[in-house]
């Protein structure tokens, strides 16, 4: 994945200007690859015939499962950037996890929406408190909390460090939440819940699923790099505005002399 490559060669990406140049070159290619992958994925998922048991609704899985994987992966990317912020105090890492939060929240929203849409024909209710769906919902709350925290502070440097701490504390808690939700689920729900997807799928369904997953991943990286570029521009604009304000402040008040 190009994102982990970008994080490993940290040193030469040190200043954002080089990142901007790189992003401008890479973005057209990335969007083209994403478009192709989506076209292939959609064709494959609609060409295959329905599953004998779930009927056509298996097609919802082609969207739901990649989105759920992506929401997990996005939080991992944010945790990596959080380490970059706290340990190496890398300005690019601040930008990375600040821009990844809205993307993660959006993909988690897709996962929740498609999950409940899948639940309706299967179990007859819009929202079923299934273990996986519930932990994705808690993850969604964590994303919203992080976005709210990031927007609540004006100094971007401090905001990034505090968000990084919260991301890491949250990251450590994900297994505990997962375990407690599974425990809570088996306690109240009869174990007859049909396993939603997972590796027990035979070949004919796996191929479209993988293609769609790859398409979603590429979409995430394209949007993430573009959003990071926007954030760098936003910070550059605010830095220059501050400089403009300061320069204006230093010049003597010409207008006052003319008026007296």
């Amino acid at each position: 994945m190009s994102e982990s490559l970008a994080i490993t060669k940290l040193s030469d990406l040190a200043n954002p200007t080089r990142f901007l140049g790189l992003a401008s070159r890479v973005l057209p290619w990335l969007s083209a690859v994403t478009a192709i992958l989506f076209a292939a994925g959609l064709y494959l998922s609609f060409a295959g015939e329905g599953d004998y048991q779930q009927g056509l609704t298996v097609r919802i899985m082609y969207v739901h499962v990649p989105a759920a994987w992506l929401s997990m992966m996005c939080y991992t990317v944010m945790a990596l950037s959080a380490i970059g912020t706290l340990v190496w105090r890398h300005p690019l890492a601040d930008v990375a996890h600040k821009t990844a939060a809205p993307l993660g929240a959006a993909f988690t929203l897709i996962a929740l929406a498609t999950g409940s849409l899948w639940g309706k024909p299967m179990w007859g209710t819009w929202w079923v408190w299934d273990a996986r769906l519930t932990s994705v919902f808690v993850l969604f709350l964590m994303y919203l909390g992080l976005i709210a925290l990031n927007r609540a502070m004006d100094d971007p440097g401090k905001a990034a460090r505090l968000c990084a701490i919260l991301i890491l504390v949250g990251f450590v808690n994900i297994p505990i939440i997962k375990f407690s939700v599974d425990w809570w689920n088996t306690l109240h729900q009869p174990a007859s819940v049909i396993r939603m997807g997972g590796s027990s799928i035979d070949g004919s369904f796996l191929r479209p699923l993988l293609v769609m997953a790859l398409a979603f991943t590429m979409l995430f990286f394209t949007l993430h790099i573009a959003a990071m570029r926007n954030e760098i521009w936003r910070r550059r604009v605010s830095a220059q505005r501050r400089m403009a304000a300061r320069m204006a402040g230093d010049k003597p008040g010409l207008t006052t002399e003319m008026s007296t």
Partner: protein
């Protein structure tokens, strides 16, 4: 004992407030920071007190007892704009808490709570809750906090702000006695403290955007 700062630079928000500040202070010396508001005096004091991480440069403390690895902040008292006292607790409780919390360092002499209160001229009202005192009295009590537990370095951020002349005289007397028995002082102030051989550092303030981070 010496307090050495090399090539300090610090940033407030996104802007670089000062660059390349260095000084070295040994026993009995004092450094006075002057400059208009917002010129980085408080920021420099907070960096020396270890409350703010500097952009570059280091603050090192060489104690004559030679125990290495002691952060510079642990040898300092910091008196900021706020008094760090609880209004509900009585003055005596406040000062005894800070005495126990600071712990008594072996070198110098730490005054008892009542001696410290007498030293700032408010010996008889230590039983009153802190909230009942006037602003000047509260400031004096905050200063008494420096006396209850000995620390070689005093970092004062505009100690004499909003004080009457008599209180100022008390403060300068205490500062001079601190310097006489080998203490170090770093103060940011507008009115001259009337210290004799004090080094002076003029803070210019804004020193340019943090070099091209964005």
């Amino acid at each position: 004992m010496r307090l050495i700062a090399e090539n300090l630079s610090a940033r407030r928000g996104e802007d670089l407030i000062f660059q390349g500040v260095s000084f070295a202070l040994s026993g009995g010396e004092s450094l006075v920071l002057t400059g208009k508001n917002g010129s980085g005096k408080s920021t420099l004091l907070r960096v020396v007190a270890g409350l703010l991480r500097p952009e570059s440069g280091t603050v090192t403390w060489q104690a004559d007892t030679g125990d290495k690895g002691m952060r510079a902040a642990e040898a300092c008292h910091y008196l900021g704009h706020r008094n760090a006292m609880k209004a509900e607790l009585s003055v005596h409780e406040n000062l005894t808490f800070w005495q126990q919390f600071f712990g008594h360092s072996p070198q110098g002499k730490s005054l008892s709570v009542d001696e410290a209160a007498d030293a700032v001229g408010l010996g008889d009202i230590t039983h009153l809750p802190f909230g009942y005192l006037s602003a000047g009295q509260q400031r004096r009590m905050a200063f008494a906090k420096l006396l209850v537990s000995f620390r070689p370095v005093w970092i004062l951020d505009e100690p004499t702000a909003a004080l009457d002349v008599s209180a100022e005289r008390v403060f300068t007397g205490l500062i001079e006695s601190h310097l006489r028995n080998g203490g170090i002082l770093i103060a940011a102030t507008h009115q001259p403290l009337g210290l004799k051989n004090a080094q002076e550092l003029k803070m210019a303030g804004f020193a340019g955007i943090a070099e091209e981070v964005w």
